[in-house]
Point group: C2
């Protein structure tokens, strides 16, 4: 169904940090439960209940029900005692979590009552269709071509990343397998040339030999062949551990992983990438693929995907080709902010106009602070890469666990699938056994319902998710500006807050340092203790008034990219080399409320006091 | 908290096929929602609502809320139109799905409101503890030793199986890495000996070189080394496609996978396994591991794990060792039926007594029909294998998606982990970053809550889950016996039902054949059409009165193991060789109500009529 979608009011889409929309939540919850119960009752209404009023009146029934009630008392107590208050409008500035969309919580709950398993169409016709639709919607959000691209929901970003490297590995090996099975199609090509064929060339070639496809696949990397020939997997130096796990699991191995330096603002250095690829080429070592990150989990930075794509085009002319996977687990949904009401990527010079029309930012100054051509160009170029990880459970504001992957060319699916592509439902173009085309097997239909419903309520463009992204970004910039001039007086010492770098996205990193302190270890200790008192570690969660998270930037992972920052706040290069790491406080700004200037101002005063208190406790420990 | 657990009445634990317990479900649902809302309101009660009464009265709010209501009308319609009626007490005899436990649906929904992410303790203290507890409970269900074993929840059985082969691969390669890094510890050992060290020996050896652990790990299979040296991965001939995917993904490759024949009752032939391992040993090809299946997805059969373990002991004395992974995705929870009130494995001669005391079967005859020493011994021996896949979302009656894996020796974790084991919370013995010890990253705390709550309500022994297993098994045997003498008169033809084999578990396979028909293709067509009319394919789901599923046993996967059955129902060996496959109807008997003799008899009459109708339609098409 196509709806006339009204101007979206984000306030109607969350339970509310004080449960303001509990009435609406319960209304829809009970509606969905009642409609489910009615469905049960009316399937073959001639069938009678098997649990009778007498059963329900028996002591064994009552005892069991009371036992269950006791367990729920305990569950409720545990959840209320040991959960994080992400829902707060302005006190939680830590881990990547917040309020999730009321419609997805409700959709998940509703669909769970039917318990569809999207592994097979047979067991979940309704939610399988929703997953297929949601996959195409995510493709459209990446400006992948309709009809040529495909996507699906998976457990999380690590699984999506693993599936990405699985695609890359099997695809890269196909030309070597073709050489064994159908050598006439790659006649005259050297091994180097075979290992540098583009994805398009490989897929076009596979199209020419449909009868031999199974045999070619059987001799591809899936057989165990060629794993050591496929070359290097290049990732940014700020390497997320999921990429190390992936390379381990997929068998190309950690020895095939190389980290490319990031610059002082934590973006992969594309010049260094080029240099390294040329060095490898000189040794006839191919590049299996390059990972660009859209929203790094520690800094929220967005790699220059446009420059990566341009580099590939340049090198392709020289006979060097590499697969590009974009890890946009975190930042993927943010592409919605760049799509206009018709889902077209907005020309740069029209952005102000479109944002204004859709009330994406309440404060144009903050919009201008955030939006750079670099960020814009990076998002634009995502449509040109082979595969992209996007987590609905991050910027999709959908409850855990919902990851996703999209592929630019649906034919890539053959490289990893376990059945011929004709195993599809007639007309529907939906696999009868989705499990044969993806990494996982059984999977909740409820997740698909949660994602599908969220996409229906909030279109994946500037009118829907784009607005939510704007709210989150604006909140992040309010927090960033709040931190910039922040000073505290703690037991006679002045403690100054130093934000790390202007964020590309909604992640704000920062540190506290005592004025004049030149001992980096001491500063690290201060920030670590501050984190302890601003988290579950040393606070009573429910009475703590300010939450944050932390991370370490250490030389083994970051090289010297933090040096500029560390020097800027008063430490010497020697001190950096001595201590070898800097402890960073980290705030993912997801609150859908904190962009509002009045709300933010209210909380700014409160959290300033709370930070003061937590700093006082932290200082006692260093 | 430890409860006085009353005698469990299963009727109090499900919503009921006619929504009989809708009152109890809604009572607890609203309790949990209200307690969550109260928690939001009372976290820093001085903070005011950010969504005001005026906001809620605005037209943008109302329009957005109405838009959301419209989307839920569509969602509800889609779910009610295109979902399967698994909930029915006696009409659904197909795919592995049914009513799930009311407490887990409720726990999932409740915990989802807090949206914990169990990837990191920091973001989910409560549900991380629940996951750790649930893991230990699953270990206990396998009689793995407390304190020495470990387990966790994962997305599904395919992921658990992949993690199992990841453990096996990395462990098997460690001795080769030790030879590079600390050769003095494996002095004098040949490569063959290194590749045949037992898991215990490897782990003990690793314990001796803690300082070199990281270096050894870096040279293990995770580096990309040795993948072609580790030997064969042996699986039963009825190979589930998840094992082919796993070998592909993990890089040992499909060429390393060998299928061991099953016998005519679809169990791995342990004599053939021995023969094959000896043949390989004669060529100095090691065995990476052997997969035993507890509950095959197509036949519900249970491999002779005891004989597999005994074979390993015998061969170990000859210097041949292999890892054993048990794929009990389906049958894992059934081990609860063999554990007494104190979680001890029940001696065989005490089973009748314990079952009677706990009312596990209502009909002792059916219990005797099912329970064989073979099945008992197979379950008993599970405690001796390295790792086991167990899916809570199958026989745990927990909604999708909830898989799990347990490992006998917690030290195995080091072979795949990405951080030193000291990255644990003090005292809690729970990883600070679970994602560094498992295949996935982000994962729903709600899943852990659902599993934990189910385990709290239903202990994992004969008093809890064991009773539920008994109900399911008894229902399966009622259905099996119902099919055994079933004949239909369709347009003057007699159609006879032929159950496949006496099931080890709650899966009943069967076919229909026209009396006197000797054309196997014709029979296959009949059964396929019968499936079409008994599923979403050619029936209107909601008005169809009998559901089943189907599968094909074809020579490429099954060899000639179906021949005995095929001959038994009147086809010649030539006919089998000509057609090369038999289409099988397949019923997973999960209904928690169909064990009741009165309920079953009521439905037997009804589904007999429904089968008659669907056969009439099917016959028209052949």
């Amino acid at each position: 169904m196509n709806y006339q979608i009204p101007e979206i009011d984000l306030k109607a889409l969350f339970i509310g940090h004080k449960g303001e929309n509990a009435d609406l939540f319960k209304e829809l919850l009970l509606k969905m439960v009642d409609e489910h119960i009615g469905w049960r009752q009316n399937y073959q209404p001639q069938d009678l209940p098997v649990i009778t009023p007498f059963d329900k009146d028996s002591s064994s029934f009552k005892n069991t029900a009371n036992h269950m009630r006791s367990v729920f008392d305990e569950l409720s107590s545990k959840l209320r005692t040991e959960s994080m208050p992400w829902h707060t409008a302005g006190r939680f500035w830590g881990h990547m979590n917040s309020e999730t969309l009321m419609p997805s919580i409700l959709a998940y709950t509703s669909a769970m009552l039917w318990n569809g398993n999207n592994v097979a169409y047979e067991s979940s016709p309704g939610t399988s269709q929703m997953e297929e639709e949601a996959g195409h919607q995510l493709c459209k959000m990446m400006s992948y071509k309709a009809g040529e691209s495909w996507g699906h929901i998976c457990a999380d970003g690590s699984i999506a990343n693993l599936e990405g490297i699985w695609y890359a590995r099997n695809l890269k090996s196909l030309p070597l397998a073709i050489k064994e099975v159908a050598p006439e199609h790659v006649e005259g090509k050297s091994e180097w040339e075979l290992l540098n064929m583009s994805t398009d060339e490989i897929l076009d070639l596979m199209d020419k030999i449909p009868e031999q496809m199974d045999e070619v696949k059987a001799k591809s990397a899936r057989s165990g062949r060629y794993l050591n020939k496929l070359g290097k997997w290049l990732i940014p130096q700020t390497k997320h551990y999921s990429w190390l796990k992936s390379a381990d699991i997929i068998g190309v191995g950690l020895d095939a992983v190389e980290a490319i330096d990031v610059d002082s603002s934590y973006h992969m250095d594309i010049e260094k990438l080029e240099t390294r690829i040329r060095e490898l080429a000189a040794e006839q070592i191919p590049v299996l693929g390059v990972v660009g990150v859209v929203g790094s989990t520690e800094e929220g930075q967005i790699d220059h995907i446009d420059k990566m794509v341009a580099l590939r085009e340049k090198l392709q002319a020289e006979g060097i080709y590499f697969y590009i996977h974009v890890d946009a687990a975190y930042g993927g949904y943010a592409r919605a902010i760049f799509l206009d009401e018709n889902d077209e990527f907005i020309p740069y010079n029209k952005i102000d106009e479109v944002f204004e029309r859709n009330h994406v930012f309440t404060d144009k100054k903050l919009q201008d602070e955030w939006l750079t051509e670099d960020v814009y160009n990076a998002f634009d170029a995502m449509s040109k890469v082979e595969s992209i990880t996007i987590d609905p459970h991050k910027m999709g504001y959908i409850p855990y666990a919902a990851g996703a992957i999209v592929i630019r060319d649906i034919r890539m699916r053959d490289a990893i699938s376990y059945f011929a592509t004709y195993v599809f439902e007639k007309g529907a173009d939906i696999p009868a056994l989705l499990g044969a085309y993806i990494l996982e097997g059984s999977k909740a239909g409820a997740t698909a319902a949660a994602v599908w419903t969220a996409h229906k309520v909030l279109p994946l463009n500037v009118t829907g998710y784009g607005k939510l992204m704007g709210a989150s970004l604006e909140g992040a910039y309010r927090f960033y500006n709040f931190l910039k001039d922040l000073k505290f007086n703690v037991n006679g010492k002045v403690i100054i807050c130093h934000p790390l770098t202007k964020p590309d996205f909604n992640m704000v990193d920062y540190t506290f340092n005592e004025e004049g302190n030149t001992d980096l270890e001491r500063m690290n200790k201060l920030n670590h203790e501050f984190f302890n008192y601003s988290s579950y570690v040393k606070s009573d969660i429910y009475s703590n008034e300010f939450f944050t998270s932390h991370t370490d930037f250490a030389i083994p992972d970051y090289g010297h990219s933090p040096l500029e920052y560390v020097k800027g706040i008063g430490f010497s290069e020697e001190e950096w080399n001595r201590v070898e790491k800097v402890t960073i406080l980290r705030a993912c700004a997801l609150s859908p409320y904190a962009h509002d200037p009045e709300v933010f101002e209210d909380y700014a005063a409160k959290i300033k006091n709370a930070i003061q208190e937590n700093l006082e406790k932290a200082v006692m420990e260093i």
